[in-house]
């Protein structure tokens, strides 16, 4: 073994260079298309970055003004609340229904595998496609959902799914649940398959019914997979933009405006890139904070569990 720094003729440093040739291009790409945007957004959020910037190149620094402005606006508190409701509602619905489907498909029955893979279709469709289809189905006058409700005499006038200020948020949450169920089902089903069957048999011998065996066998062993699904779900849902833009465009009367759609509008409709960047940074901070708090809480819970003999 040789030691000490040597020039590039040293086979070990040559080796290291060869290794970086494999990793380098991808690392460079990630730095350019994630690292640069993150830094650029932070910088932009302290600048007065307006349409004239694109002609003159002048973007004077304005300190915290962009943040002060967006935080002070009435719309901010409202869209923050909408973001939280949208995320919480979507995740609860997706997770509960996804778990239900996963448990259902765990039984072996004819066509089970085919049905399970067909279930993935809503998740694979482009979001714009799903959004457009639901928008057509939920149309208050011509949509099929209200037509069914009328035919069943559940509602005589029809529900203003997308035009009512309180209904519109519920509608986009329901649509997002529909989109997310397949993903939750797929991952939770994968987790369920990992649980050894002899544990269920042992529980059965001990006289455990389905509820008891779910509580004491399935749930504890599924916990790690549940964490993954929930963390990814929240992180992905916080940044959802496509569905809302296509289905309601943030309306009616800003009822479905989230931090992500606000950021888009500030930057690309009002061309206030500075404020748009500030808004998107708030979103990043929320996302990071959630992931950190959740992962830490989870690790603590796991450590505590492992401490118990």
């Amino acid at each position: 073994m040789r030691s000490g720094p040597r020039p590039a003729t040293d086979p070990r440093s040559w080796e290291r260079l060869a290794q970086w040739m494999f990793l380098g291009p991808a690392a460079a790409y990630l730095l350019l298309f994630f690292g640069y945007p993150i830094v650029k957004n932070v910088v932009m959020s302290f600048q007065q970055y307006t349409p004239t910037t694109f002609y003159t190149g002048a973007a004077p620094f304005v300190g915290r003004q962009n943040y002060a402005e967006i935080l002070a606006s009435d719309l901010f508190a409202k869209s923050l609340l909408t973001t939280l409701l949208f995320t919480a509602g979507s995740i609860c619905g997706q997770f509960v229904l996804g778990l239900g489907f996963a448990l259902f498909f765990q039984r072996r029955f004819p066509l089970g595998g085919v049905l399970r893979s067909l279930l993935l279709l809503p998740w694979l469709l482009p979001l714009v496609v799903s959004g457009a289809t639901w928008r057509w189905m939920l149309d208050p006058d011509t949509g099929v959902v209200n037509a069914v409700l009328r035919a069943l005499h559940l509602s005589s006038s029809g529900i203003p799914w997308l035009t009512g200020t309180s209904q519109a948020l519920v509608s986009v949450i329901l649509i997002n649940i529909w989109i997310g169920i397949p993903f939750n089902t797929a991952i939770l089903y994968g987790g369920l398959q990992e649980i050894p069957t002899h544990l269920y048999e042992a529980a059965k011998l001990d006289g455990a019914g389905p509820v008891t065996s779910f509580r004491h066998v399935t749930w504890p062993l599924l916990r790690p997979v549940v964490s993954v699904v929930l963390v990814l779900g929240v992180v992905y849902t916080l940044k959802v933009l496509d569905v809302i833009l296509v289905v309601t465009g943030g309306g009616p009367a800003n009822a479905t405006e989230t931090l992500a759609t606000r950021s888009y509008e500030l930057s690309f409709q009002q061309f206030e890139f500075g404020r748009g960047a500030a808004m998107s940074n708030v979103l990043v901070v929320i996302s990071l904070a959630f992931a950190l708090v959740y992962l830490r809480a989870n690790r603590r819970a796991r450590n505590a569990e492992e401490a118990i003999p």
């Binding site: 650029k40 029955f109 809503p122 990043v284 992931a291």
Partner: protein, 271 residues
Amino acid sequence: MKRAPGRGRLSTIVGIVLLALMLFPVYWMVNASLQPTGNTLRGDWLPFHPDFSGYATALRDQGRNLVTSLVVALGSVALSLGLAAPAAYALAQFRIRGTNLVLLGILITQMVPGIVVANALYSAYSDLGLLNSYVGLILADSTAGVPFAVIILRSFMQGIPREIIEAARVDGAGRLRVFCSVVLPVSRNALITAAVFTFLFAWSDFLFALTLTTTETVRPISLGIYQYIGAHTDQWNAIMATTVMASVPAAVLLVVAQRHISAGATGGAIK
């Protein structure tokens, strides 16, 4: 232990009913696309008299955008795999310093909202002349594909036995030779999984199409649909015909590459 035969059949029936409910919107989309123009106010439940005028209109208006999406999606597959496959190999098999840093970086990419990337890329693209270009869209759309492909390929390549690689090394093959003639062929399945998903990510992209194109020259189908909805709310058969055509890749891949879809759905998340 045998189960009563009736129980399995009951589960099948329940499963079919549940799936029919879940997939009803997809059926309704196809059904609406086959209704004649003008009859959309009161669409029939079944397309007894299929009318393809919606498809004719859609192809005339959106045919070019479908081709654009195809070019961008294929370009994104090539770029994503080209970057991710060597990187995944390095992360899986070499013991290099910085591996953990790159993995942490990939984890962070999952938390970065697309709008952050779009915000920054818009001004950079405008300076570089990449707005309204295929290259610009391919580069931006691969932000979904590259991290995903690295995760999928790395977890597969970790399972490649070291003996195979070392045997080739002993025979005198260089790192690149080993990678091209041993690692890539062995990883065929994982490469297909990664390709299927990077294709679908780029095909479905809406945000970058919306923010990084301003003219009609390079317009992906997702943006075409969005603008269709805004402009022709009376032509729902044509809009739905376009959405059906935009769904074809997802449907075809689900049938043809079902195994890879299942692998990608779980493999991408559990890591």
